[in-house]
Assembly symmetry: C2
Homo-oligomer: 426 residues x 2
């Protein structure tokens, strides 16, 4: 029924008659964001409630491809993958003064049967710092870093931006542990470079700006990765020539001087924060006593950094930037399938027979194909293909079959070409 690849652990190809989701003409009436409207209509996600979305087969494939690109790049800079928990121990968060709802206004909290309060993690600096006390002892253990892909829970007052800002959402959070500021900044810079590669590979590198933002108590600046789109909730000032930006909140003469730029060269834009990197200094190490013995045996606090990317937010951002009036358009690297293969069947069954064979041959070559083998009109198939947004639409019809050809349409450019079947199957 479905071809699957044991190494990848997922179906490399799929017949559309097997896919349980169907497209729809209308999004839910209460859904105002472009990204969620398109993703729901195309059968990628399902709205459980405001700011809470389930991922359907096509949506999970896209999300997993985004996750995989991030994982590869974070592994490449030495990150070790772990999985912390949603439930948070009140005592730990009281230590840093972040348990109170007056300090952190977006906690979700719950209770054990005995009345003990638990938090649902909105971030994980506190528990990971405590955990690292079991493992970091000496300078030999540093630098090191750990990251996870984990569901975060944030009690947002409003949630009207689809998967750009959820109450429950997936996050990649990486934390680094270094001996001193110098070692920390080396890792920080590696992470910054990895983030650039990630957003380039995800297809939004061109619209994404390293943006100077407030650094909090421990460094002058933090760095946000802001992707320009009208759907964005942040205001940034872009310096196009230098490919950097400044967050509205820190735009002042001192910052302009630090960056060596003129206010007149900046253009105001709306943007989505798809990633951010922070220096944490010893804020958490000091609170929990995360120290190490240096070469001379002196105990010193570990210097930390944190580095976040929201894979779901990236997916929503791509939908906002690339989506058009007909539907979604995915970059090759994150598309649920490489090819949307459409058979326009004739009554005798010649096209169906050839299409079935071609589907298997493409799959055997490791090409990810969604094969529209449904018995519906060409018009419905084409409009579904536009909505689903797979990069290449490949059509086999009586006409193309007579010429041993396939019609290939690029979803992004709209360019159409006829290609010999034998060329495609090389």
């Amino acid at each position: 029924m479905m071809a699957y690849d044991l190494d990848l652990g997922y179906h490399i190809s799929m017949r559309q008659t097997s896919l349980f989701t169907r497209t729809r003409h209308e999004a839910p009436k209460d859904e105002v964001s472009k990204n969620a409207r398109l993703l729901i209509r195309a059968g990628y996600i399902h709205k459980e409630m405001a700011g809470v979305y389930s991922y359907l087969p096509l949506g999970l494939r896209v999300l997993n491809k985004i996750v995989e690109i991030i994982r590869e790049e974070i592994n490449a800079i030495g990150g070790q993958e772990i999985q912390l928990t949603a439930f948070q121990d009140k005592k730990i968060w009281e230590t840093t003064g972040r348990w109170s709802d007056e300090v952190v206004d977006n906690w979700f909290k719950t209770k054990l049967k005995n009345g003990t309060e638990l938090g649902l993690g909105f971030t994980h600096e506190e528990p990971l710092t405590v955990l690292m006390k079991d493992h970091i002892r000496s300078f030999r253990d540093l630098p090191t870093s750990a990251y996870q892909f984990q569901t975060k829970f944030r009690n947002e007052a409003r949630a009207k931006s689809g998967i750009l800002r959820g109450r429950e959402f997936l996050m990649k959070d990486l934390y680094s542990f270094s001996r001193d500021d110098k070692e920390h900044l080396e890792f920080y810079d590696k992470a910054k470079q990895a983030y650039r590669r990630i957003f380039d590979r995800l297809g939004i590198g061109g619209e994404t700006y390293v943006t100077f933002a407030s650094g909090g108590s421990f460094s002058k600046y933090s760095h946000e990765f802001q992707t320009v789109t009208d759907a964005g909730g942040d205001i940034i000032f872009v310096h196009e020539a230098k490919k950097i930006a400044v967050n509205k909140e820190v735009l002042n003469d001192e910052v302009l001087k630090d960056l060596g730029i003129q206010r007149s060269d900046l253009v105001k834009k709306k943007a989505v924060e798809v990633g951010n990197i922070f220096s944490l200094g010893a804020r958490f190490s000091d609170a929990f006593g995360l120290t190490y013995a240096d070469e001379k045996g002196a105990m010193k606090p570990v210097v930390m950094g944190s580095y976040g990317i929201g894979p779901g937010r990236v997916m929503g951002t791509i939908a906002e930037i690339y989506g058009d009036e007909k539907g979604l358009i995915w970059p090759d690297t994150v598309a649920p399938f490489a090819i949307h293969f459409i058979g326009l069947f004739d009554p005798i069954g010649n096209v169906k027979k050839s299409a079935d064979g071609l589907y298997e041959q493409l799959t055997e070559r490791g090409i990810e194909v969604l094969y529209d083998d449904r018995e519906i009109s060409a018009g419905e198939k084409f409009s579904d293909a536009d909505l689903i947004g797979i990069p290449k639409r490949v059509v086999l019809s009586e006409k193309t079959l007579a010429e041993d050809c396939l019609e290939i349409k690029d979803r992004l450019t709209g360019k159409v070409e006829m290609r010999k079947i034998s060329e495609i199957l090389i």
Copy 2:
């Protein structure tokens, strides 16, 4: 620093000097279960609170291998992977009468800022049935099935069994949707066979019995997959010759007659329920109006089934069954690495140089290696290897190097053999 495989998306091999976790001699004082004591000491998991554990790099590797085996087998029977949400809408659960804490005694609940109550999913029949109403219309859409790997939250009064019974834990839950009982039972049987393959591949097939249990309202029996271990909280009666068992709760004359077995052939054992499969009939379809149009256009309720496996519980069960007084012992299929490669370095550095080269050669061949390149005593290395429980311990020392050999010890059997390096590298 670490070799990583872009296709697999994780480091195939790792130097132990890079692994941030360290082993420890003592488990936390409040930890009474064998599985958690060993897994914590070996650096696989971290206890956040009772019944809530984080997974560290070695532990996450094992968990992911378990997940991958389950995913492959569920994909092979046509399951389509999705990802539902933790947050649950009160209204949906009120429809089936399962919102009340008097009916379901292990809910965790929380609140939005506006006071709206939310549940944290302990299972997902309700939301998935509602979701499927958008996608199932006619007999052509059936049968179908969807599954997820998702964190479940269960407010257990007691949580003293390590990762065998958590308050927050990963679950694979599969749900099937069929036209009628006949079609449902065909899928049910396929799922049962898939479960047998899964537990065989996970290395606990021999100890795992298909166990007849209460079927609830819609079928005579459900089937549990019970793995025999003294750590188990369930009591089952095993029929060794037939390789089946009966759960204590349904052991009566009628059941014995149905199964054609004698009470005298049954042996009472403690066991852990590592999986279960249920026929749900139309309980949820009726509640939410999940119907389909049959060939004649008549509307009929969809027949459902649900199928669970807890990957973390499986991991804990393996630790319970295989673990010995020295530590963990992993089956090949789920071990974090295939080989624990130990270099016993000489002062001149000859062994180190050869070991470094050999590590790279093994990695290039796609063999997953944990390379103990630490500058500590042979005794410490050996006791860590026993604790961590990788199936093969491979030692390079001055003595073995002089003979161009490696010493290979099987963790399970303890058998030791000398093998030529050239043989290993074929």
